[in-house]
Subunit: 305 residues, 4 copies
Amino acid sequence: MDTIFSNIIEDSRKYTSLGNVASYIPELSKANPHDLGICAIDVNGNEYCAGDFDKKFTLQSISKVITLMLAIMDNGEQRVFSYVGAEPTGDSFNSIASLEVKSLHKPYNPMINAGAILISSLIKGNSAQEKIERILNFTKILTDNENISINKSTYLSEKETGDRNRALAYFMKSYNSMEGNVDEILDVYFSHCSMEVTCRDIAKIGAVLANDGVLPWSEKRIISKEICRITKTIMVTCGLYDASGEFAMHIGIPAKSGVGGGILAAVPRKMGIGVYGPALDAKGNSVAGIQVLQQLSEKLDLNIF
Amino acid sequence: MDTIFSNIIEDSRKYTSLGNVASYIPELSKANPHDLGICAIDVNGNEYCAGDFDKKFTLQSISKVITLMLAIMDNGEQRVFSYVGAEPTGDSFNSIASLEVKSLHKPYNPMINAGAILISSLIKGNSAQEKIERILNFTKILTDNENISINKSTYLSEKETGDRNRALAYFMKSYNSMEGNVDEILDVYFSHCSMEVTCRDIAKIGAVLANDGVLPWSEKRIISKEICRITKTIMVTCGLYDASGEFAMHIGIPAKSGVGGGILAAVPRKMGIGVYGPALDAKGNSVAGIQVLQQLSEKLDLNIF
Amino acid sequence: MDTIFSNIIEDSRKYTSLGNVASYIPELSKANPHDLGICAIDVNGNEYCAGDFDKKFTLQSISKVITLMLAIMDNGEQRVFSYVGAEPTGDSFNSIASLEVKSLHKPYNPMINAGAILISSLIKGNSAQEKIERILNFTKILTDNENISINKSTYLSEKETGDRNRALAYFMKSYNSMEGNVDEILDVYFSHCSMEVTCRDIAKIGAVLANDGVLPWSEKRIISKEICRITKTIMVTCGLYDASGEFAMHIGIPAKSGVGGGILAAVPRKMGIGVYGPALDAKGNSVAGIQVLQQLSEKLDLNIF
Amino acid sequence: MDTIFSNIIEDSRKYTSLGNVASYIPELSKANPHDLGICAIDVNGNEYCAGDFDKKFTLQSISKVITLMLAIMDNGEQRVFSYVGAEPTGDSFNSIASLEVKSLHKPYNPMINAGAILISSLIKGNSAQEKIERILNFTKILTDNENISINKSTYLSEKETGDRNRALAYFMKSYNSMEGNVDEILDVYFSHCSMEVTCRDIAKIGAVLANDGVLPWSEKRIISKEICRITKTIMVTCGLYDASGEFAMHIGIPAKSGVGGGILAAVPRKMGIGVYGPALDAKGNSVAGIQVLQQLSEKLDLNIF
């Protein structure tokens, strides 16, 4: 089993040269484009790692999976989905046009930026700081890692280059689609995008999702089965930006990518997988990471369809 | 087991009064809105039916599943997806705007009208008639029913009211996105939408998909596993118009609906399901049919996520 | 006075090398890109010509001015503008997206293709042939030229490459925005676009518009003052595709261009101008023709603002 | 002459009951919907007033005319139009969608909100306060009125409800279409929208435009003829939101409306006109004000086409 993983990493590393490290945030551009790592943790707690599995990177859009679950736990499914839709969209992740053109008073789904900002506004807490603490604590439990923290310089970079997200937030405010103070909400959003993890950390989150909400390492239920299912479904339909359909078609595993280079995957009833490879394709997904997951899906027959 | 099915039908029939029969085609408006039937056929060939399972209706958009499979068999996956995308879209099924606005030279996916018309253009055959025959024959094999035929008056209705589809076809022609004669292609399209079936027929198609391409009743392989997977994936992401996300989130079964009132569902490795209930919700899906599938998914634990 | 005109042509001819002859229709691509001519006819009937003023070209979009006037004469202002708007648009001339996205049941204005096709549908006549005859006769009167005719090979070219216009027409049909038979309406449309003229011919049309509807050469009223005003207004706001604003800002003369290389201009109370220069800029307007009009506007103080 | 004006006001006042006072800003909703006034000042300085010509109201979008002129004087035509287009658009005044969908790095024109915010960013000055002072001083000169000031409570209302404008500004920032600090730029924008005037004040601005930049009361040139022409042209093509085409077609006078109920009009070489009637039609234009201008245009033959 361990050989399968190291062979796949070895075989896929050549694809890292086909992509580029994200450059819109100075911090992200410092990553080594040739890094590639994987960690898988099955629902019995067994762990398989290979390559650069212990390199640190920021969650970026992968954090949207965490806040979605916490927001539903905080507000109930019905309230959350009265603010944000559950439909995939052909628009790009930071699109604002459809909100206006179709008079959408709900962003399409929680995985595009507009939807994820809205989700940030729904996290309970008396201040931005308290909300950030709650997200951080929830992430520590999901990753079984007390040391998860926010990368300060990435957070500051996000904040400085965040005008498009400000536009999205003010637009939703002007439509009365979102409540609360825009600066505070974006502070929460930029913070959770900047949480720093390794492949093992996100593999653990995937394992909790795969195990329907029960921590595989303690058999303690943290999330309801229903919330886990909703989350995995939205990962399939919306998890890889506008390559979600293609990924589902060829790999068939619920997954969520981030421009930090990570991909979190959850194979229902089987295992969680964390992949890291910061060289991205044109759509913002880890180019070698996708290769890794494709080979793994085939070798271990993980496709759910 | 049979009681489960009849109870679900009995319990769900009240929802038929929440919807309306499709009216844009005169033929469709003649359906009885209170009809509701189900048929399930598992991968071992066992059959469970209840309600109006033997009422006839036209496939409409459900036929897009059949032509997608045949087009891939005729052209290979690569060629088909060089003409049409595999990404879900938030646009409505008959949308033309994104083709222009985003300079899309490929329609988003094979389940929206633009994509399905393009798929029709890819079916092999020397004439519209020959293509229609091939689709019909393939459908007869998938349904194990020699008597499948085209409802002539529905076909004529489709043709008469098909100006939006003509606009889509000519638009793709003008972009050089589609080859062939528009009138002939639409003839194929209107014909396969007008094929007449029962719940049992579409349950059989679902059973073939569930069984990865092997006919459960003869153990003969008809379609490759890969094509079945692609098809089921696209059913999950795009099968219920712009309610696909919501359906996947709550029911979690690959499915394709049609405005004739049918829903074809395929539970991987388990069973095919056909539901019929012509009273539609605002998005064009069988309102009671969705209830039936939701209850069945819960009772038999069919959710794939 | 004559020297002004020949100097302007001499001076502007160098700009012909900055553009390209239209290529989407084979017939248009045969034009000589270095041709440049002008003819001006004032409201007293005086005529000033220079350069290639007697070269023939097809009206293309300039014909939209003629059919707009005839449609209002046939139907009244109120009826015409119940079918088509009078607002400029930032969309391109052949756009379909806004019709869907904004649920426009009226095309923006009569100068974009959708609007002009709709105007063609409003021309009175019992057959396409009769409608074409009526447009042709009206054009003969406006140009004081019995020999105006349709260029057959251009007409056939238009018809062969007209899929985008078919898409627009069927879309409007499907929205019930347009009545009548699509093939017949497009036959009228392709025919009037293919009428062949010289600079002098379109200068005469401009002179009639400038003279508020009275033929300068016979003092006979042909069109009402109100219809002339409406037409000149729409020429200012929508006459040069998406360069209309820029043209109005710098030149300030009601004008309508065509991809055949012509520009028809009408200076209220002063003169009509016809310019021909088939080398087009990126927006489809005669690149040297615009220079000619700019210089003329300055030298003769023709700017209406 | 005076009777013409009072008759028109008397005759048009009934139309005030067809509209509604703007309500999105609390301050605007306090206006009396039945107010209606007019003032005309010809290029010789003669003045004709009737009705509620001395009622105060805020300029709102009319101020866009003032800042456009000042921005061109500050930066030159070329620089201004490298940041903002000159093309009319069918989009609504506060639209953001086309900026994204068409990757517009320039807003369509200076009369829509995006364009006007950009224009505000181009006004010279070392601070928001200094820019506001410069606009105020320029307005005092144009209106020959030392007492022009900013209505503080309207300004605060604008600021409080300005989230859509914030979205537009941040969007342009994120596209690098606009330079400077968003809060400061919007402060300038909200301030100039809140300048308080009467019909006589805006009639004077119109008279300066009509007189090609020379103050009629002192024969001093304040603005170049070229800038006046550009401004009047843009008023024709974009001055009345998405009713600009209809207004030009029937009334034919360069004009700019504001949701405060004012309309500033400038008849080239003839006169400036200020109208006030706070009851607005569905498109945000003074419903009775348009009637007043239509009657005046007919009676005094002011249509430029």
